[in-house]
Symmetry: C2
Subunit: 104 residues, 2 copies
């Protein structure tokens, strides 16, 4: 997980939540595909480990960026979706997409 | 440095260039303060190591996001500034700032 810093800077505070590559690619997949299950991400995010994916989802949920619900009890399986707070990250992703289309 | 991936996804390609916390905080400082010298960043980015700062500046320059000029020869000292391509990252930073002010 990215290190956390106390900072008055709103960019730095945002980075405490989405400040690494996998976090942003997980968000991208939510915006592209809507509600997602753990194994959906394993399919779409080549190279992510289950431990990292699990930690990012947990961190997002603790920050209120996503929420989840059980869709199976035995074994327990969750579906994850963006909250309103999470959906409001769309302009960050859109700006990255536009820049990448033009320059990267 | 963040790992590089070949990807058709423009978000992923953008992340190949700005996909870590320090890269984005370096950009933030360019937008806040304009042209900068190495030691300016050491002053404003608490916790960055000279090796990481040097690598990020080198990577940004190789990607055409910043350019530099010598302002002293003995010892050689450089001043760095955003290129047009780099300045066009402003919407990414602005979106992060707005979200952080509201949510983080």
């Amino acid at each position: 997980m990215p290190r956390k810093y106390d900072s008055p800077c709103p960019v730095a505070r945002t980075l405490n939540i989405i400040g690494d590559r996998w976090a942003i690619l997980i968000l991208r997949d939510f915006f592209l595909y809507g509600p997602r299950r753990f194994q959906d991400f394993e399919g779409s995010l080549k190279g992510i480990t289950p431990a990292v994916l699990s930690q990012r989802l947990k961190d997002f949920e603790s920050h209120g960026v996503i929420e989840s619900s059980l869709y199976a009890e035995h074994p327990p399986r969750r579906e994850y979706r963006l909250t309103k707070k999470g959906r409001e990250l769309r302009p960050v992703l859109r700006a990255m997409k536009l820049w990448g289309e033009r320059h990267a």
